[in-house]
Symmetry: C2
Subunit: 446 residues, 2 copies
Amino acid sequence: MSRRQVHLNVNILNAGVFGGSWRFPGTDPVASFGLDHYVRIARRAEEARFDAVFLADGPAIREDIRYRPFNSLEPSVILAAVAAATSRIGLIATLSSSYNHPYDVARRFASLDLLSGGRSGWNVVTTAGADAARNFGFDEEPEHGARYQRAAEFVAVVRALWNSWEPGALVGDKSAHRFADPDKIHPVDHRGTHFRVAGPLNVPRSPQGEPVVVQAGASSDGRGLAARVGEVIFTAAQTEQEAGEYYRDVKSRAVALGRRAEDVLILPGLSTVLGSTEREAAQRRELLDELVPPDYALNRLAAQLGVDREALRLDAPLPWHLLPEPDRAGGSQTFYKIALGLARRDNLTVRQLLRELGGGAGHRIVTGTPEQIADAIVDWVDKGIADGFNLMPDVLPDGFDDFVDGVVPILRRRGVLRTEYETTTLRGHLGLPVPGHTRPHAEGAA
Amino acid sequence: MSRRQVHLNVNILNAGVFGGSWRFPGTDPVASFGLDHYVRIARRAEEARFDAVFLADGPAIREDIRYRPFNSLEPSVILAAVAAATSRIGLIATLSSSYNHPYDVARRFASLDLLSGGRSGWNVVTTAGADAARNFGFDEEPEHGARYQRAAEFVAVVRALWNSWEPGALVGDKSAHRFADPDKIHPVDHRGTHFRVAGPLNVPRSPQGEPVVVQAGASSDGRGLAARVGEVIFTAAQTEQEAGEYYRDVKSRAVALGRRAEDVLILPGLSTVLGSTEREAAQRRELLDELVPPDYALNRLAAQLGVDREALRLDAPLPWHLLPEPDRAGGSQTFYKIALGLARRDNLTVRQLLRELGGGAGHRIVTGTPEQIADAIVDWVDKGIADGFNLMPDVLPDGFDDFVDGVVPILRRRGVLRTEYETTTLRGHLGLPVPGHTRPHAEGAA
């Protein structure tokens, strides 16, 4: 297979990415509060030879819990349980760099890595919103730039801790009475702006060298962090132009920092709505839209944009003069830019915009037959504007089952998706290099 | 069965509780760095109908890693994986109240509880030692009393968060478009000495009401916290007298605080060395002692007591005039008191003391046949000085296999150990009441 391979993760976003996914006929609305949901999807992803399952996160309740599921169970705990029920699939969990401590995060991912045989990845997020801040001792959300500065130092400390054990430091020599070799275990002695961490970590080096670092960021700060530390980068791109701009920008930033372009994999989010015919897919899409009452959708959009609910009218354009600067938006800057880009490009009414946003996620939605969805996937990879996709099926688990049954065989026939795993680690699946051991220091932080 | 039941947990302490366990013939010295070790032992404990598996913890490397295994993998991650591989056994993980945040701890245990169907328990520890402190931004260990004050507030906040969802708040009503009922979900609005936490938790109420709170503490501060918040209390007692004194003291403290004595279960640690004959058991014990070189044992004891290594001589008594006050000891106060109690009672030499301590754990060791060990267990429970035991087999997994094969059938014949689980939750196995829902507030903290 000389053709360029597609990297695929599945994002287990509760009952699915649409606002109405949980209400879809046949869906168990509370399945994401139990283990079986995650195990079932992870096993199917493993059967399809995906790189990884992915869990988003936010450590706070969402204000619209009345109307839809939310990120609830803590992702590292979920994926540890999934690790025991799978053998090859990668396990990527989101943890906030704003509301955790680097020693604990380094340790939890290192532990997940040992328990899973080298399959863990950490999605670093800085966590927007005041609700999370107020659960962790702050009165307001820390400022955007400050969150990213902390994140950069946080990742540097975590990586230094992951490198505090040299290969071979765990000995286990019974006859010599030598359990570990202290000469190969080094302190970190980090004293930075945000953290003081002595180290060493109390977990030996990972089977894949280090857990994979995943990042997502659309702002300039976000792109900077992604280019510096991200090995896998999630992004939201609605169009080829957006995808291409982001892809080239982040890869060239990474190269400018001395990294190889191929060591930074860029995976846009992709929501899929599948039908065996175009008509069936379109009907499914229509039903998903109908399951989100307009009143709720308007409230949510108003909150995300940072405008009053009264300022939005379904059949009018966005109230452009009332929209705040991107850094004053209510939610993530990524979502804000995507939404405004869509509305401006096609001169959409609010109702049309809501439909394009698919209930609020802001990721590209492809509706169609398995062939059409396979085309959409291969097209961006062939054009060199994506290395694969972070898949967000419309309804879970059914929409993902349909993808595995319908789209995966086509991707395999086209020679862009493996039929067997060639490696046992997440880093291996992604084709990322195993970092050489470096004596730990977190100086790259500031 | 009208006879008083024995509660049993198994403490998966790496390769076993003795300093030489990892060197025992047939032992895999590094098994505790992989998942199979934990799953294997948990499944056997479930087969024996134990209440729970238990994991100790400390977020720092031990200075004697050259010579023996250490607490490495993060316990909530391990037990989440074990949850997926078991169905009934309780899952008790240790997490520090000094080096974590209550929102995160509340969430991780609530998540483990939902994933496991109500089987989680949190062992609250305040974490002695400067090494852990230096991994979390402190220069020195926070003072003992301050750690316990923080712990009391920490537990109160965690419990308030666990109570932020009323029963029935998770609705999942597709036709009414009502996912959750915000009127049944309440903020915590905690503003205390150590924490400010808005809440609510983003995890619904536990299948067992709340995860079980486990505590251990020998100091006066520790006993106070145990009596106030502990539902299961681990303790170290070498003699009937020590066990009885602790049992009566903590239960009466709990009653004085308005709790029922039977809602506080006291489980001393019990190290077991089993042989099919007395002679075989004694030989096994001797081998375990021989596997710990005296020089290492002396260094370790000196560090734990807080005296110079040079002050200890194998065949002399302890240098009583050099020993510091208990609160200046190098390790836990529990261990310090146990060690001095043993040495004083029997006028032991250092060599004899090391032998009694079994390589450093400080817990009671019973060496004998299955009948003798069953006798030792039933005796303390019948005498009303223990509600059961936190079992620490000499060598893992073999010593625990021997216990399940040899001792468990005897305990069942005597009618003190269940043959089938009667409930599905840890709280149920322990016979502890399901807490009624209380509107969250953490005022009981200070």
